[in-house]
């Protein structure tokens, strides 16, 4: 087991390097000079030259690449081109807000999605099933930022129950108060996906022979459902955890903008509008690392749960 863990972690290193390389070159092959973008069209040649020197843009591309990789691995993302603040400090200040949102929304999604999906499958073609299916179809179709704005208009502006901007804190009450609507928005959308997945997984299991056997030998329906159906049906649902977290993370970018919440998405969007090239690059790296790490952790969890995977190769 330990060997498997170690091997998977080592395998992630080339992936991280590949990701960093893609981000680096994606930012460089694009048209536009970052120095002119940051300083504006009217900057003088000396000004541009000084800026390029400051930002390390005047050395050959391969040297830029090496120093980018080395600095990033050490957690140094350089300074913001817009206001000269160290980017790692900004990232550290904003990261907790994005993490809070992602974790809370994923939790809400699971708490709503799995029971709804089970209920929908067990009561197939009853009215509760139709309600659940409409909920799922709507969740696939409503954009998260639209649902967020509606909740903001209704509960924030209309009823005044929740704050309409900011991340809250430092006490936990204020944090939760600010977190509720954004997390609910992303959670509801994600719950639609989980509902659908759970429903089809449970229906699939209900058709299996061993469930018919369990019923025919006279087991109570409750026991058939919990012991035979659920245990197997929930495997694909639980293993989707990585997808839920990453989808919620992508939703956090728009939701941070709707609720004017601090976070990595907010930094990225701010970086784009202020043409802060180093900031955009740093947030792209953070998002990519997040994806690689979540996928790695989920893979390791599979191996813990299912011995077939760790023994297969």
């Amino acid at each position: 087991m330990f060997k498997y863990l170690l091997r998977r972690c080592l395998e992630a290193i080339p992936t991280v390097l590949l990701v960093l390389t893609v981000v680096f070159f994606a930012m460089r092959i694009l048209p536009g000079d970052p120095a002119i973008a940051a300083l504006g069209d009217f900057a003088g040649p000396e000004q541009i030259e000084r800026f390029r020197e400051q930002m390390g843009l005047n050395v050959p591309l391969w040297q830029q690449y090496v120093s980018f990789i080395v600095n990033t691995v050490q957690g140094d993302f350089g300074r913001s081109m817009a206001n000269n603040v160290p980017i790692s400090a900004l990232l550290m200040r904003n990261l907790p807000y994005t993490l809070q949102l992602t974790v809370a929304a994923t939790a809400i999604a699971i708490l709503i999605g799995i029971p709804t999906g089970i209920l929908s499958a067990v009561k197939r073609n009853k009215s509760i099933d139709y309600v659940a299916r409409v909920f799922a179809l709507l969740g696939f179709s409503v954009p998260d930022f639209y649902l967020g704005s509606l909740l903001l208009i209704a509960f924030g502006l209309g009823l005044g129950l929740f704050p309409i901007m900011g991340g809250g804190g430092p006490d936990i009450g204020s944090t939760l108060h600010h977190l509720f609507l954004p997390a609910l928005t992303l959670g509801l959308i994600q719950a639609a996906f989980i509902t659908r997945l759970t429903r089809s997984a449970v229906l699939e299991m209900l058709r299996r022979d061993y469930v018919r056997t369990a019923r025919s030998k006279g087991l109570a329906e409750r026991i058939v459902l919990y012991k035979h159906v659920m245990r197997n049906a929930l495997i694909p649902v639980v293993t989707g955890l990585g997808i839920y977290i990453l989808t919620t993370l992508s939703g956090s970018i728009t939701i941070e903008l709707v609720f004017s919440r601090p976070g990595i998405g907010q930094l990225m969007i701010g970086g784009i509008s202020s043409r802060d090239y180093t900031m955009v690059q740093a947030t792209l790296v953070i998002f990519s690392l997040f994806v690689v790490v979540v996928n790695l952790v989920v893979d390791l969890l599979y191996a813990l749960i299912d011995p077939r995977i760790r023994n297969s190769n």
């Binding site: 994606a26 694009l30 179709s141 930022f145 208009i153 997808i243 990453l246 903008l257 709707v258 994806v291």
Partner: protein, 291 residues
Amino acid sequence: MADTTIPQIPLAQSQMRRVICELISNKVTLVGLIIIGAMLLLALLTPWIAPHSPYVQNAFNANQAPGGTHLWGTDHFGRDVLSRVIWGTRVSLLVGIGAPLLAGIAGTFVGTFAGYYGGWFDRIVMRLVDLLMSFPTLLLGVMIAAALGPGFSNVIAALSIALFPRFIRLARASTLTLCNEPYVEAAIAAGRSSSRVITKHIIPNLIGPIIVMATLWIATAIRLEASLSFLGLGTQPPSPSWGNIIRDGMNNILGTPYPIIFAGLAITVSVLAFNMVGDALRDALDPETQV
């Protein structure tokens, strides 16, 4: 739609007829098809259907509630919300259909090439495809758009690149299956050139699943375009798109909520329509997964 697997079968004529019959006979799907038809009409006939100009500002008329000459009210510049939403239909459909189409065309070529020739090219392509597919499509789209910068054509490019790996994978897998078919082996044995085998025997047979997959991604592409415009990365104001109408509306949320409400409704209804038709299409093509 979230990640969907497409049955890897070429569409036979009779199957196509069965699928179409199945789609039309279902009421929900029919509603979806009617909405899509109406959207296409709106997009084609925009200048004649929109009651007002989407650009003309009128400060005396700002932030009006729905009713009167402005059925859906006005925004903070006094522009007619209904007309702006109707004009936005064009952008949404153009990106919604254009991005999967471009990704489908490019993905078919790269995937077929990788599958047919194999070797180092195949290995590198598949490594990149695996990496890109470990990202959720929305995140990938936003990240690419962030790197490209704002603009309408950049959004199409970003979404096409985000969808690209899925088509490569499908085209490659289909090519590998098709290469084992007797008629392809016969063509190779008869001394046909590789380019002829690919264009005459492989691509015509994998185009069916590719088209189906492109159709299934339209709903997602529309939603992604709206998200990117909302983030300020898509169509730039004053040109209207559903996403940037909501973005504008958020800045004036204390003035009037109606631009947000109606533009969001437009996105929801159109994505819903494409999802309903897409779900039905998938079920009709793959009866095994019907639940």
